[in-house]
Amino acid sequence: MTSAATTADAIPRKGKVGSLARQNRWALRGSYAALSVFVVVFLVPPFYMIMTSLKSSAEISAQKGNPWIAHDPTLENFVYLATNAQFQRYFFNSVWVTALVVILSMTIAILAAFSLSRMGFKGSQVISTGVFLTYLVPPSLLFIPLFQIVGNLGLINNTWVLVLLFPTLAVPFCTWIMIGYFSSIPRELDEAALIDGASYPQILLKIFIPVALPGIVAATIFAFTVGWGAFLYPLAYLYSADQAVLTVGIVRELIRGDVFAWGTIMAACVMAAAPPIIIYTFLMDYYVAGLTAGATKG
C-alpha cells in the first residue's frame, strides 16, 4: 500500500488528460449538440402547424411579415371544425376504431405472448419467430390481396373493416414486445405463484400483467399508433364520407381540387395529433416507473 501511494504521488500531474470526468463532459456536450439538431428537425414542422392553425385565412394569404409567428392569433379554424358535423363524424370513427383495435390487439398479443413465453409447448419457439416474421411483410404489399378478401367478405366501405385489418398489423409486433417482456420476468415468480395455488389465468392476471405493465404500455402505444395514424388502408377500403376516419377525412374534406384550406387543415392536424400526444405523456410515467425492480435480487 505504502509503496503504491508513493509511486502515485511521484507521477507528475499533467492536467486531467483522458480522465473519466473530462471524457464524460465531452460525451455530454456531444450528445447535447446532436440532440439539438434532432429537436430542431423534428419540432419545426409541428411548430409551423400550430402557428398556421392559429392564423386566419386572410393572414395566411397576405404573405406579409414573419410567417413563423401568428400576428393575430384566432381560434376560428378550431371552432369551425368543432362545430362541423362531418369532422365530428371522422373524429368519432377514429376514436372507436382505435379503441377496438387496441383492445383486440392487446388481448390477442398478451394471451399469445404468455403462452409462447411460458407454457413451453412443442413448436413455441418456431411460432414466436413466425409471429415476428409476419411483421416484416410491408403493409403496402398486403393491401392488394387483402382487398380481395375484404371484398369477398362484403366489407368494402365499412368502417368495421379497419377493426378487422389493423390487428393483423398490430398483433405481431405487440406480441413480440410482450414475449420479450414476459421472458424477462423470472421463472421463479410464476413457480412461486403456482405453489401458492394460482392457476395459469390467475398468474397472468395477478402477476404477469401488473409486473409487465411498462411492456404493455409500450405495446398499447404501438397498437394505438397503428389504429389512429393509418392512412393507406382507410384510403383504399373506405370511400364514402360517413365511413371515413380522421386521417383520410382531413384530406378529402379540406382539400377541394386545388383549393387548400391551410388554416383549417393545420387545425385539424393539431386536433388529430392531440390525443396521441396526451396519451403518450400520460402513459410515459408508467413506462418509466420500472415496476420490476425488487422482484428478485438486484
Binding site: 413457480e191 412461486a192 405453489i195 401458492d196 405493465l213 425492480a293 425488487g294
Partner: protein
C-alpha cells in the same frame, strides 16, 4: 404428519439423466439438507418434490400419499427460492397473504396468520413496504414468511442464502434454524455450501452425478464418510488424499507413503485392513487437523515425521501448512506458535487414529 418418501426417482431431460434413481426417507419434522456440487441433481430433486418438474420414473410421497401427478398447489408445500421470487407489485403483507387469498381463507384468519409469521421473523414493521424497498436479508425473511403463513406440510428451500453476503448468510442461517425450532415443519433444504449443510441439517444427503453418495448426520459424514467423494466434499480445508501402500514389517501392518515414510496402522484396524496388503491404488485419507506440530507427550497412534514446508497460511487461531508428499500437496493444521516457516523443515505429527483407507478404483472407504 408429513414424511417425504422418494422411491427410485429418475429424471431425464431429453435422454440426459439428471437424477438417476434416488431413494430417500425423510421423517416428520426432520431438517434434511441436500448438498453436492453444481449439476449433481439436488435442485432437480427438490423441484420434483415441489411438483415443478415431472418425474421420469419412480414415486414421490408426501404424508403417505403418492403425489407424482398432483399439481404443486395441491401438495401442501411451500418453497423459498434463491432469488426470493417476491411479487414486485405487492407489498410484504400482500406477498405473504397471496396464497391464502387464493384459497379463500377468511380475512380475519389471513390477518392473524400473516401477523404471527411476521412476528416470528421480526418483519412486522415492513408489512406495508414493497420488495424493492427491502434489503436482501429482509427480502429473504419475507420469502420465508410467505412460506410460513401457508402452514404447509413441507418447507422446500432452494439455495436460499446464496444471494446474500457472507456475514448476512451466517446470520440468516441461524434464523432459519431458529424458525425451524419454532415451527417444526419437515424441511428439505438444497445448498452447495457444505458448511450450511453441516450447521443446519438433522441429516445431510450428499449427492453426486444424480445419485445419493451418503445420507447421515453431520458428524457421521465428517467422521465416517462412505466414499472418497463425501470425504473430500465435507470439511474445509478438504481431507488430504495421499497415494499409499499397505505393507507388513516385523508382523506390524504399515501404511507406506513412498520410500522414506511409513506409519503403523492403528491396532483396532489391522484386521479390517489386512486383506489389502500389497494391493495397488490405495489412498490414505487424513484430515488437516490430524496433521499437527510435534508435541512433548506422545499419544497412541501418533507419529512424528520431518517435512519441508512449502507454504504457510496463518489463519489467526491456527496456521495451515502445505507440503508435498508422493507428489501431492498435503495440508496440515498447526498451532500459530509452532514456528512454521515456509521453505524450512519442520517436525510434524500425524494422528492415524482418524485415518481412512480408500480404494481409489471404487472410491469406497474401506
Amino acid at each position: 404428519m408429513a414424511q417425504v418418501t422418494l422411491r427410485r426417482v429418475f429424471k431425464k431431460y431429453d435422454e440426459v439423466p439428471a437424477v438417476r434413481g434416488v431413494d430417500l426417507d425423510i421423517a416428520d419434522k426432520e431438517f434434511i439438507v441436500l448438498v453436492g456440487p453444481s449439476g449433481c441433481g439436488k435442485s432437480t430433486t427438490l423441484r420434483m418434490i415441489a411438483g415443478l418438474e415431472e418425474i421420469t420414473d419412480g414415486d414421490i410421497a408426501i404424508g403417505g400419499n403418492i403425489v407424482n401427478d398432483v399439481p404443486p398447489k395441491d401438495r401442501d408445500i411451500a418453497m423459498v427460492f434463491q432469488n426470493y421470487a417476491l411479487y414486485p407489485h405487492m407489498n410484504v403483507y400482500e406477498n405473504m397473504s397471496f396464497g391464502l387469498k387464493l384459497k379463500k381463507t377468511p380475512k380475519q384468519e389471513i390477518d392473524q396468520r400473516v401477523r404471527q409469521a411476521a412476528q416470528i421473523l421480526d418483519i412486522t414493521e415492513l408489512l406495508e413496504r414493497k420488495p424493492k424497498q427491502l434489503s436482501g436479508g429482509q427480502r429473504q425473511r419475507v420469502a420465508m414468511g410467505r412460506a410460513i403463513v401457508r402452514n404447509p406440510k413441507v418447507f422446500l428451500f432452494d439455495e436460499p442464502l446464496s444471494n446474500l453476503d457472507a456475514k448476512l448468510r451466517v446470520q440468516m442461517r441461524t434464523e432459519i434454524k431458529k424458525v425451524h425450532q419454532k415451527v417444526r415443519t419437515t424441511t428439505v433444504y438444497v445448498t452447495h455450501d457444505q458448511v450450511e449443510a453441516m450447521t443446519l441439517a438433522d441429516r445431510v444427503v450428499v449427492m453426486n452425478a444424480g445419485l445419493i453418495e451418503q445420507v447421515g448426520t453431520p458428524n457421521d459424514l465428517y467422521h465416517s464418510p462412505a466414499t472418497k467423494f463425501v470425504a473430500g466434499f465435507i470439511g474445509s480445508p478438504a481431507m488430504n488424499f495421499i497415494p499409499c501402500q499397505l505393507d507388513q514389517a516385523a508382523g506390524a501392518l504399515r501404511v507406506r507413503l513412498g520410500d522414506k515414510l511409513a506409519f503403523p496402522v492403528p491396532e483396532d484396524r489391522t484386521a479390517r485392513y489386512q486383506p489389502y496388503v500389497g494391493k495397488p491404488n490405495l489412498v490414505l485419507g487424513l484430515r488437516p487437523e490430524h496433521i499437527m506440530e510435534t508435541r512433548p507427550h506422545v499419544e497412541p497412534n501418533q507419529h512424528d515425521f520431518d517435512q519441508l514446508i512449502d507454504v504457510v497460511e496463518p489463519m489467526g487461531m491456527e496456521t495451515l501448512v502445505y507440503f508435498t508428499l508422493q507428489g501431492i500437496e498435503v495440508c496440515g493444521r498447526v498451532n500459530p506458535n509452532a514456528g512454521a516457516v515456509a521453505l524450512q523443515p519442520m517436525k510434524l505429527r500425524a494422528d492415524l487414529s482418524n485415518m481412512h483407507l480408500i480404494d481409489d478404483n471404487t472410491g469406497k472407504v474401506l
